[in-house]
Symmetry: C2
Subunit: 421 residues, 2 copies
């Protein structure tokens, strides 16, 4: 055996990040033939029509006007108190669920997932999420010996597949006694799906049924990373109320992130929000998560916390932020609608898009198709079951063009596969 | 049993941070009776003589002049390339050890410890550090089922206790087959001790002897969080060269932090630097640590990285930073010398101080003494085996006054204990 110093559990294949790699190739192409001739749909961040990262003035002027010591000082381990309050305010916007809520700061949404998964699952546990899912859920899990099981996200009508969800949920909770399930909504990455209020009711009614067996422990992790890029800010937050007054053996943890909603990706600022009808359970969440903070990253970006709390504390500034965000959201909606329409026009199958940064397309041989598309100077991300197109990063004009190009690449690969088969 | 939702491994006592609590009480006292009448030696950050946090202009003007997108964009998982190069430059300052070096960005020095400990120890392992040690080493360990064993830091002459180190090291490596040992030098927290070059030679000669058994795996984690606040920047970096050309089964990981050296505590920016004479081992370090990044916090503070790499790239700016840092370092040295001198004057026993932010005093009943001292409006931090006085946070004048006050409190508690005993 080759010499190795690392512990057995820490040995991973030397994989390069596929997304990163394609994104680099796209950038190289842009340099070589000009940005106007490349469609780079790999990037999970809001870009302007010229392919430049959008940074909100209201956010960055606030950051740069902070006194130095509000950036320099250590933050409290679980986050500054005013930040914790600000998180609840911007996340729930008045739709706070009834019950006991505790907020623990985290480095981005990823950190919140880590806090929740580490503390509420055991080594060897299976975590439930949909078959279309953001791959870091799996990476966060595998790092600590947890694995991921999937239900089918969509039924044949293109709605949330409640049956598949219930089946898998029941199977896991029967076997493990506990279940940790991640639902990324609204604006699911990678499909853009948003669970409807009626679908949430079905999900929660079922969970409540299971929870009647008091030995079962149920944790919902609701990843709302894209909640600020939905068509209706308020409507899409009403579902939070449904997590009030649940049985004591259902704990909800909301994963909040400043990355998208405040164009603050690089600042690494988020939070895990624990919600329980039992105060002891909420407190337990707080202290367990705080221990993990101390044991992983100690505390979080103080300046980023100050940006959020000072913005929220100042009505005029917050209104300016909201206006700015709205203009970008409107831009995003136009892009997504253009893509969806154009896909329909060329009969390109896409998954039901509702909100958020991405549209996905189901297909066979996604890697081959991605490679084929690079020849047309169109770059997107291959997933296990299809392709992810980042409408957040591509101009409306290019969003309108892309479906036809993709359709043809799929046809081409299909015919090659056919002739080989 | 009380209802609980959290996993068994994630249940911790609801402890409040003792340091934080005393620090809050000190601040309350400052408000009540005026800063000039309180000695607050609890804070592990550089404060000016008026008790205000010091923030270096050269660092913060750089941060605030960055283009927004250099703060906003996601960083690479393992850190931006120019940041990684800048880390090596400011950390080693030309004393790069021979061999293969890989840098992985982390949220502060804490994140670097996490990366190293997680990947190079197994659940149930014992980690070796000195009996005086920064308590988060234990917290980072216990979170993942590792525990801490100690050697005596000092021999009777007040030097590094090589005998005790060797005994414990041998005991653990015999039993476990592998050993992970943390040495925090120069400017050890909490004692201010710095391992001398001769002591490093003894330590490494012994490790090389153990490493002759090729089945043994030895990891040194060198925590250099305080390296920028030592009397001689260059002299105190020469020891890095000793980690070149070590046997392949000795891996060195240096824990770098921007917190102290750049007054950037709240930015959460550091790095783990892996050093090996074998390129595969260095690569293995890189990929394991990168997996942990993705699985814990995804990526780090992009703006903080840009601050370091732009400062390092600009000679004039870097010279300005060094000058500014020097002025604060000189201030720190004066404070520490005043404290040490005054302690000698009143015959107060302190541990051998060399560099860094803290001086420690060995004593019995540290909590009682701390409590007693609050009556004199002097606040410091109780440790298991004594008291920690933060010279970094207290004016020279107060550093000169404090030893007498502490001496009297110790006497008083001793006499109470005596009369009870």
């Amino acid at each position: 055996m080759k010499l190795s110093m690392v512990a057995d559990h820490a040995r991973w294949p030397k994989e390069n990040d596929m997304i990163f790699n394609l994104s680099e190739r796209a950038q190289a192409a842009e340099k070589a033939i000009g940005k106007e001739n490349v469609i780079n749909a790999t990037i999970g961040a809001l870009m302007d029509d010229e392919g430049k990262l959008i940074t909100m003035d209201s956010v960055y002027s606030q950051l740069k006007s902070l006194p130095n010591n509000q950036i320099s000082a250590y933050a409290s381990i679980a986050g500054q108190d005013d930040y914790k309050e600000a998180v609840k305010k911007v996340c729930f916007q008045g739709n706070d669920p009834d019950g006991y809520t505790r907020v623990v700061a985290s480095p981005g949404g990823s950190g919140a997932i880590k806090l929740a998964m580490w503390n509420y699952t055991n080594p060897g546990d299976v975590i439930l999420t949909s078959d279309w899912y953001w791959s870091p859920y799996g990476i966060i899990g595998e790092e600590a010996g947890r694995s991921v099981a999937n239900y089918k996200l969509f039924n044949k009508d293109g709605n949330f597949n409640t049956e598949s969800f219930k089946d898998k949920f029941a199977e896991i909770v029967d076997k493990q006694g506990n279940i940790f399930t991640i639902i990324n909504s609204p604006g699911h990455n990678p499909t853009g799906y948003s669970v409807s209020d009626e679908e949430w009711d079905e999900i929660l009614d079922f969970a409540k049924e299971v929870a009647k067996d008091e030995s079962k422990k149920i944790v919902f992790f609701i990843d709302v990373a894209y909640i600020d890029f939905v068509k209706d800010d308020l409507e899409s937050r009403k579902f939070f109320r449904k997590f009030g007054d649940l049985p004591e053996n259902i704990l909800t943890i909301v994963g909040f992130s400043m990355s998208k909603g405040f164009t603050a990706y690089g600042m690494r600022m988020g939070a895990a929000i624990g919600i329980s009808s039992n105060e002891d359970i909420a407190e337990e969440f707080y202290y367990s998560a705080m221990h993990s903070c101390r044991a992983n990253w100690s505390n979080c970006n103080r300046g980023a916390m100050s940006v959020l709390s000072t913005l929220v504390a100042d009505q005029a500034k917050f209104a300016q932020y909201e206006e700015e965000k709205k203009s970008y959201k409107d831009m995003l909606v136009r892009r997504a609608e253009s893509f969806v329409e154009a896909a329909k026009g060329v009969d390109l199958e896409i998954l039901p898009y509702r909100d958020g940064f991405f549209v996905s397309l189901p297909c066979d041989n996604p890697r081959e198709i991605c490679e084929e598309l690079t020849k047309e100077n169109l770059y997107l991300v291959p997933l296990k079951m299809g392709l992810r197109f980042a409408v957040c990063a591509v101009s409306e004009e290019k969003c309108r063009k892309a479906p036809k190009v993709i359709k043809e690449a799929i046809k081409k690969i299909k015919s090659v596969e056919g002739s080989l088969g």
